[in-house]
């Protein structure tokens, strides 16, 4: 104040060109915060960009990972000049599109029925829409072989329904059944957050149900719908289990299985597999960017004010139809598959007949020396991996939503990038990136792969929880003498606890059932449970395979119930 002229001159120059250092100093970020952000940003950049960079590098080199020789375009020639490759690309896009459309057609109406109508027995409908999410496409595909194979499928022999799951349609059908819960979750969250007065205002303006649905409800949930559809498309493009189990017998190749086959040929064609993986990741990344571009204006604020009611549409005479729709979905996605798995796991050979019965599969399974090691390994990996992932993504999500330090936008963009990377591609990229590292051949390389792949799920689920916590709760802590770290520890973490638990289960389930990234990464010493089941299938041991698939389902179910009853945490993955 002694010299009012001098400081204002400085202010102006500072205002004209706010450099990084100036912005940093006046962002209100403390040194702890800045260091945390810097370390995390580097870590996340490393996790995502290092393997992807190696993948790109590998595409231009001859020789296998770790022993690459020279720059070459031969890999591109081998793949791109093969007309069959473009058939595979086209077929993959058809599958991805088909799954996205069908999963939306199944999931979105279920969401509308449970959130917006007076449908009785909603808890059951909700349950049947969520359970397939935890059963996974892989186990679903195993069950559907038994239900829908063209020669002795249960559906054909018992009910005379002639379907063939060993086909493009079969792949779309099975994948859609188990990805529909994603569409359900995205749509239900958007509908639940939508202020009912938007719809009421439409009715008051004289619009009917159809007009309100198409002109008001649909446009308002469109951003959420598009996010869900993009995710479903990317997952279905990179899904390995279904594509292998239903595609191999009919010689139907998709990009995901094409990568796998090229990498495991004798001798392996890693370069060609990498180019094939590049094709896949370019398609998915382009789609993710397209979705970002469409939603560039940001999503609408659907929540206005607090404590609004959710308008219930009376279904009236349509109630039985709605119930039938929900039951049909539960029947096809959960009840029939689980029943057929139980049945075949208790029979000596695959047969549609009722009997003979035996416990031999289970005893063989439990006497298999590999089993316990593999099962324990899978449990270690999922427990440890989910814990690491929750810790990492909790801090990332916190910074994205609450910090004002520069660099947080970059952190956000990089941490959700793996959404566009299919699992099988990540598996291949990990080989290139880490084959010369000491962690190669250990479980750590699998953990790093899963951490990278599923980071976006943690960031999103926890982010949705963090935005529910009023910023003033933290600001009040800062003002009342607590440092940034103390605030995070004493205010943010305890308030976030339920969200952390539910995110942990979500990640545990995703980790334990994951197969796409695992098939290329695991060796005999690091074999994981889903891979073991896949090997039983390859060996033609269907009945033992069914026992394995059931066991995996039971484990996932047990963990969910443990959390539901033990910690009172609802296992409803939340998305934003």
């Amino acid at each position: 104040m002694a010299d009012p002229g001098a400081p204002s001159a400085v202010h102006e120059s500072a205002a004209r060109a706010p450099g990084f250092v100036t912005r940093l100093r006046f962002s209100g970020a403390t040194p702890t915060e800045v260091v945390t952000i810097a370390v995390l940003a580097l870590l996340v950049l490393w996790l995502v960009l290092y393997p992807v960079g190696w993948l790109a590098w590998g595409a231009f080199h001859s020789g296998p990972p770790g022993a690459a020789e020279s720059w070459t375009l031969a890999n591109f020639r081998e793949v791109f000049l093969d007309p069959n490759h473009w058939v595979v690309v086209w077929r993959s896009i058809v599958v991805g599109t088909g799954v996205t459309v069908l999963a939306t057609a199944i999931g979105a109406p279920l969401a509308w029925l449970t959130v917006k109508t007076d449908l009785p027995g909603k808890r059951w409908v909700e349950l049947s829409a969520i359970v397939p999410f935890f059963t996974s496409t892989f186990i679903g595909a195993l069950a559907w072989i038994l239900l829908g194979n063209p020669t002795n499928g249960v559906l054909k022999l018992w009910f005379g329904i002639p379907i063939n799951v060993y086909s493009v349609g079969g792949i779309i059908w099975v994948t859609s059944l188990y990805l529909a819960p994603y569409m359900y979750l995205f749509t239900a969250a958007a509908l639940r957050n939508m202020d009912t007065t938007f719809e009421e205002a439409s009715f008051m303006s004289g619009a009917g149900l159809w007009r309100t649905l198409t002109r008001i409800t649909f446009p308002l949930i469109l951003p959420a719908l598009l996010s869900g559809m993009t995710l479903v498309f990317v997952i279905s493009m990179g899904i390995f289990g279904v594509a292998a189990i239903l595609g191999f017998p009919a010689r139907i190749s998709l990009l995901a299985t094409d990568i796998y086959v090229r990498a495991l040929l004798i001798p392996p064609r890693f370069g060609a597999a990498t180019v094939s993986a590049m094709t896949l990741v370019i398609i998915t990344a382009a789609l993710v960017m397209l979705q970002r571009w469409i939603l560039r204006g940001g999503s609408y604020t659907l929540v206005s004010g607090r404590g609004f009611r959710i308008k219930l549409y009376g279904l009236g005479k349509w109630t039985p139809v709605a119930h039938a729709w929900c039951f049909l979905y539960a029947l096809l996605a959960v009840i029939l598959p689980v029943l057929v798995l139980i049945k075949v796991s208790l029979q000596p050979y695959p047969t549609p007949r009722f009997g003979p019965w035996t416990l031999e599969n289970w005893t063989v399974f439990f006497n298999n020396d590999n089993l316990y090691g593999t099962l324990l390994r899978s449990l270690y990996l999922s427990t440890g991996g989910a814990t690491l992932c929750v810790l990492l993504t909790a801090v990332i999500a916190y910074i994205i939503h609450r910090s004002r330090a520069p660099g947080r936008r970059l952190l956000e963009q990089v941490s959700v990038m793996p959404i566009g990377i299919p699992g099988i591609v990540m598996g291949l990229a990990m080989i290139w990136a880490y084959v010369t590292w000491p962690i190669w051949g250990t479980l750590w390389v699998v953990i790093v792969a899963y951490l990278t792949l599923f980071m976006p799920y943690g960031v999103r689920a926890l982010g949705a929880n963090i935005v529910q916590i009023h910023p003033e709760l933290e600001e009040s802590s800062r003002v009342h003498r607590a440092s940034w770290f103390r605030t995070f520890r004493l205010v943010m973490l305890p308030l976030l606890r339920p969200g952390i638990y539910s995110t942990w289960i979500l990640l545990f389930i995703i980790f334990i059932r994951e197969i796409s990234a695992a098939v290329l990464l695991t060796t005999t010493n690091t074999r994981l449970f889903p891979v073991l089941i896949f090997e039983q299938w390859s060996a033609g041991a269907f009945n033992i395979m069914c026992a394995g698939a059931l066991l995996l389902t039971i484990i996932m179910f047990a963990v969910i119930m443990l959390f539901k009853w033990g910690f009172k945490v609802d296992v409803m993955p939340s998305y934003r």
């Binding site: 104040m1 009012p4 001098a6 400081p7 204002s8 400085v10 202010h11 102006e12 500072a14 205002a15 100093r25 006046f26 962002s27 209100g28 403390t30 009023h470 003033e472 709760l473 600001e475 009040s476 802590s477 800062r478 003002v479 009342h480 003498r481 607590a482 440092s483 940034w484 103390r486 004493l490 205010v491 305890p494 308030l495």
Partner: protein
């Protein structure tokens, strides 16, 4: 307790200038209220003082200690500013008891463990909550949460207290009661405080001095009486209470008086201040309670007397609001309920010249 000095404070979000070169001095033990319409920059100013927002330019000093100085590169984090703050949402942590909420600042500072319960109890006694120490926030009412927030902000004996619209979530009667309590507490403890509100009645009730803000600038600063009776400009006159604003031109200046001819050709006699030159475009502010309505023109009165017609009469119990048409100018009068005029009645309005405030800007 310390004084507060803000010099040349500016804040821009992108291209929007929220605070524009703001200067403000709050004396030790003073309660200053920042009031203004939403978006005027009052909350941003408060958050800059708290360190929750970083200004683009300027300096903030609590006592002699500079806590924010853009030119000097000083930006003390909130927890080291030794302040207390009451938030609009109360921000009482739901996972802690009332006791733990209030003990929080003490534990964060690291005061001797044994002194904590005693100091917390004293703070809770101040706000009459000593019996609810073991409750959680979900088990107490909004008003009680507000008191917890107040006790928490006071417990560590801060140098400065900040209030961010603390009463806006309470219902009307509780709001009146709480603002009296806050004022009593401030008189009793003598703390320095900056209090932000958009409610001009609340501002007048609680303030030692009021700063009226609009679009990032303080338009007038003074005692509640000053602000209400002698508004400095059209914005302050209109924002603080209701008023009749008559637009016109100075047509004559003589002695201490001036005549303003309004756009509706009403001649208004006003007490003239500096700058009232003939031909200057001005406004005249007349508070509705300064005027009276009569049926006959008082002959030879020194007051301004204009004929008018009642267009609407609103009965409020203790007063009646008459909307009049005076030569095409809408004019409101708050009158006692003794004389009743119906809509359509021809009447006269009388206002003493010293209650007609000449506004040059």
């Amino acid at each position: 307790m310390s004084s507060l000095t803000i010099t040349g404070l500016s804040k821009t979000f992108g291209n929007v200038r929220v605070i524009a070169d703001l200067n403000l001095q709050v004396a030790e033990g003073e309660m200053l209220v920042l009031v203004g319409p939403s978006g005027c920059g009052k909350t941003t100013t408060l958050r800059c003082i708290a360190g929750l927002e970083s200004p683009s330019a300027g300096r903030i000093a609590i006592g002699s200690r500079v806590v924010t100085g853009v030119a000097e590169g000083v930006n003390v984090p909130p927890e080291q500013r030794e302040i207390g703050m009451v938030f609009q949402s109360y921000a009482v942590w739901p996972h802690m008891t009332v006791f733990d909420n209030v003990a929080y600042p003490l534990r964060a500072i690291g005061v001797p463990r044994k002194t904590v319960p005693d100091r917390v109890k004293r703070a809770l006694k101040l706000v009459q909550l000593d019996l609810l120490a073991e409750r959680y926030s979900s088990q107490i009412s909004g008003g009680q949460q507000q008191r917890v927030a107040l006790a928490r902000s006071l417990v560590a004996e801060p140098k400065l207290l900040l209030f961010d619209e603390p009463l806006s979530n309470l219902d009307a009667s509780l709001r009146v009661q709480m603002r009296i309590e806050i004022k009593e507490l401030q008189r009793h403890l003598g703390f320095t405080a900056v209090y932000v509100t958009h409610d001009q009645t609340e501002a007048m009730a609680i303030a030692d001095r009021i700063a009226v803000m609009d679009r990032g600038v303080i338009r007038q600063i003074g005692s509640p009486r000053d602000i209400y009776d002698r508004p400095a400009n059209v914005f302050v006159a209109g924002f603080m209470g209701t008023t009749n604003l008559l637009e016109g031109t100075v047509s004559r200046v003589s002695g201490g008086e001036a005549i303003v001819r309004t756009v509706n050709d009403i001649d208004v006699r006003v007490a003239a201040g500096d700058g009232a030159a003939v031909g200057r475009a001005v406004h005249v502010s007349v508070r509705p309670e300064a005027a009276s309505v009569t049926t006959r023109a008082p002959a030879g009165s020194p007051e301004n007397v204009w004929p008018g017609k009642v267009t609407l009469s609103t009965f409020l119990g203790d007063t009646i609001i008459y909307r009049l048409d005076v030569n095409g100018q809408k004019f409101d009068v708050h009158a006692p309920t003794t004389d009743v005029f119906d809509a359509g009645a021809d009447v006269f309005v009388a206002v003493p010249p010293n209650r007609c405030i000449l506004l040059l800007e």
